[in-house]
Symmetry: C2
Subunit: 534 residues, 2 copies
């Protein structure tokens, strides 16, 4: 089988070590310009790492000839499956200290082949790390430790077809290995869309979204992929099964909800019936500026507690708004968007803007001779959003430490939580590096009872010790989230990096249940060892 150097449907080459497409990465000059924004970064960027410089030995295991066509030991494929795309992963690649390189990369094309590979791995003490688009930012797709004889990265992207469409029920049976654009392209001729657009949309798969309970397009109501699942098919070492295709059911605990978020530890999700949307025909968007971030929080709460249900309701703090070009005067900016396939949405947008203005928001005013600034702000923010992970890699090449993390908490705790992150993470970063950190915050999803803040922390690192600085910052973050009763992750998942926080937050009866289920479904402990549970 070929190594996956290019994406289906494009001829663009994916970076083996950094975010996205290799040709979209910032060049040296752009890296230097980024570095200039953070005092104390390197004088010139670290060189782009090369697979040829890695020490990649022969695989520690071989598969029987009947399975040989399903795996590759190609060094580039193995390197590209060694880690996800967290800052930690990027810096490890840049510093020539990547995680353990998998012995083999498997690319099954059907459930039977997934089961065959699991059977073989179980019989030979080989760890299996399910791998979709590989965009994990929490250490979810690598192997750590040495308890297993060898490691197989199980790449699902050869299973990328929309197998069936039910237009009456607006749903489709989709293989788990389909990347975002690949599945949307197959739905488009039917006038339907999954409308799940995480920042990683181009580089992540349906199966990855399901296994990590990804956060999606909608800022309110159905914010998470979970709500769009009609049925799941899961292949486990103990056998495969498919849940019944149902709009809803009250028959026992939801089987699907147990596998959603299981992060490859209980089984491999191979396909799902997903609920789709009609493409929206009416859209309206604007932005509202706030001089006072705390009043902006009140405005967002009022909108989240109304029944207006905006598709987008993203509050940018002044730093985030400045960085993305959404404001230049120190304002916080609320980006509001409504959409519908049923009818006009201007009334809902107007009502939301009214609510925002009642809490101190300033309506966008058209400027003479230019774009309407509100639309410009929306556009600026969206471009910056998609470009952000590439810029992070550029900053990493300048020796900066960059961490993005997200959480959720009830409304009462949000202001103190954000303040604590600014104060305590800022102090920790300063202490660890001697440099001041930039800390920005936005709300990505909002709920009647709380919100999901997303933080970006950037600071010049200690050259060569970037991982140690990151560890220090992450420990402080984990402690803050725990003390404030916030979740260790709203939609990035747990992986290996969030284990300490997850272990603190998981109720003990559920931990007992999960361990018992893991033992029943994966008795040899081969599936994504170290993630969620030991």
């Amino acid at each position: 089988m070929p190594a996956t150097a290019t994406d289906p449907g494009t001829s663009r080459i994916r970076s083996w070590w950094g975010w996205g497409y290799a040709d979209a990465q910032p060049d040296d000059a752009e890296c230097a310009a980024l570095g200039a924004l953070l005092p104390g970064t390197l004088a010139r960027p670290l060189p782009i790492p090369r697979v040829a410089d890695l020490t990649i030995g022969p695989p520690g295991v071989t598969v029987p000839s009947a399975l040989a066509h399903l795996v590759t030991a190609d060094p580039r494929a193995r390197a590209a499956h060694a880690m996800g795309k967290a800052y930690r992963d990027v810096i490890r690649a840049l510093r020539g200290r990547p995680g353990r390189i998998p012995d083999l990369v498997g690319r099954p094309t059907c459930d039977r082949e997934v089961a065959d590979l699991l059977d073989w791995a179980g019989g030979h003490g080989v760890a299996v790390v399910p791998f979709g688009g590989g965009s994990s930012v929490v250490g979810g797709v690598e192997y750590r430790g040495d308890a297993h004889r060898a490691v197989l990265s199980l790449d699902l992207t050869a299973m990328d077809r929309v197998l069936e469409i039910d237009t009456a029920a607006r749903s489709a049976r989709i293989q788990a290995g389909a990347l975002g654009p690949v599945l949307e392209e197959q739905l488009r001729p039917h006038g339907l869309t999954l409308r799940h657009f995480p920042q990683s949309f181009e580089f992540s798969t349906l199966g990855g979204w399901l296994a990590t309970r990804a956060g999606g397009h909608y800022a309110t109501v159905h914010t998470r992929i979970d709500d769009f699942v009609q049925s799941l098919r899961v292949v486990t070492p103990a056998g495969a099964g498919t849940s019944r295709r149902l709009p809803a059911s009250g028959a026992g605990p939801s089987p699907d909800r147990f596998f959603l978020g299981s992060e490859g530890t209980l089984g491999v999700i191979t396909e799902a019936w997903m609920r789709l949307q009609e493409r929206p025909r009416w859209k309206a968007a604007t932005s509202v500026a706030f001089a006072d971030f705390h009043r902006a929080l009140d405005a967002v709460r009022a909108i989240a507690q109304s029944d207006l249900a905006p598709a987008n309701c993203r509050l940018l703090d002044p730093g985030e708004a400045l960085l993305s070009g959404a404001s230049h005067d120190g304002s916080a900016v609320l980006v509001l968007g409504f959409e519908s396939a049923t009818g006009p949405v201007d009334g809902r947008l107007a009502a939301a803007v009214d609510l925002a203005c009642a809490h101190g928001g300033r309506r966008a005013v058209p400027e003479a001779g230019g774009d309407r600034p509100s639309e410009a702000a929306v556009g600026a923010w969206r471009s910056a959003f998609l470009r952000m992970p590439y810029l992070r890699d550029g900053l990493a090449r300048m020796g900066a430490v960059v961490e993005t993390f997200e959480t959720a908490a009830t409304w009462g705790g949000i202001p103190a939580l954000i303040d604590a992150v600014r104060t305590e993470v800022g102090a920790a970063a300063l202490k660890a590096t001697g440099h001041p950190a930039t800390i920005n915050c936005r709300l990505t999803h909002v709920y009647p009872d709380g919100a999901a803040p997303y933080f970006t922390v950037a600071v010049a690192g200690r050259p060569g010790d970037e991982l140690e600085v990151w560890d220090d910052i992450k420990a402080v973050v984990t402690d803050i989230l725990h003390r404030h009763g916030a979740t260790i992750t709203h939609h990035h998942a747990v992986g290996r990096d969030h284990r300490p926080g997850y272990d603190l937050q998981r109720p003990e009866p559920f931990a007992l249940a999960l361990r018992a289920a893991k033992h029943a479904l994966d008795p040899r402990g081969i599936l994504n060892p170290g993630v969620l549970i030991d």
Copy 2:
């Protein structure tokens, strides 16, 4: 401790054997009038059963003196906890063949006492059946078999307080034993409401709703109590735990979703933080009549796939519409209701009516000199809805067999499913009794991808063999639902009566996980034995 003869906040006496309040049960004359509607029923009603006529021996077990104040062996309390309120339960009481009477009824007042009773029961081979309002219609709150030395019915209704309210996050910490009216009364002074109004509202508890994943007030979007759970506290034989209070989280599989629907088999839910609503200030309702039920289904699908989100969207087939007084001309009737605490809803109602009329619906037209028939239809239906279970008991006293069951399926399968129920259940009922059955259907909840039909079957029984007739009908129903890919239950739960259908539908990997979790949390197998899993 006293037996619970009366409800908190009322002086009305609950029936020990039938639905609801004893003083609301149909009298003999009303029973006879009901029986006259079904050819072949008895000439006079079966007498109301008396506790004194039951053989209730001394309890087969005693608790240590430290726990004595938490339990009662009072015969009336034990009789009232022997079964739920299914037709099966009512007819067993009427025929003097009730289920196994529990040896003791426990009424803990706090988590510690729940844990103490579980510890004691585990150490003495005593089965524990968690009991909320006792309104199960699926055999969920009784004990069957003789594998345990004794049976403790664990009545949670002494734990009925709203413990904390967070108005910013519009949520409350509520003890699981609070009956619907009891918790709403405590929320009302704060201008908040849980707005969960199942048919059993007066006679069921928060804990029961959570343990059975009850269907609630909203016909669309958030139809199920699950979506309103912020955090759960669960006491299991292996220890207690509380999930973190979060508006959303992506940290592993949802711990709450695993205990929701566990029907008392994995632990006892003792309290929950619940998401609340503001009381709606704007409401609008109407009804639309359809000459053709299949076109009405299309209309409802169009509304469910819009973003109008009606709070009520209940389609009554002609028989159901006639029975409830919503129509008298053989029309099917769609009852539509909108509500909001944010702003007027007339526009959404008008848009929904337009959609309905585009699919053959007839707008309600005000009649000269009378109520607007649309509002009359809405009111008629609501009164009939609350009265229905009492009438079922009246029919049972006339020797009729009455079964209500509900399911859900994707839109494509709905017409054939409804036709199959009419045809096959009708034939089975005729064969079993020699009498024609009345079979009515309504849609109670609707989804973009499907709907939840609710069926009522009534037929004159074979005197003395009502249970056998019911068994025959239930077997046919289970088979139909399975063949049509529908769920065995949308919101009535599995209990013991739906086990055969549930076992057919549960995916095997989840069955393995559930069994393992059960063994870990309830190693002695004392919790609600026979429900969900063995």
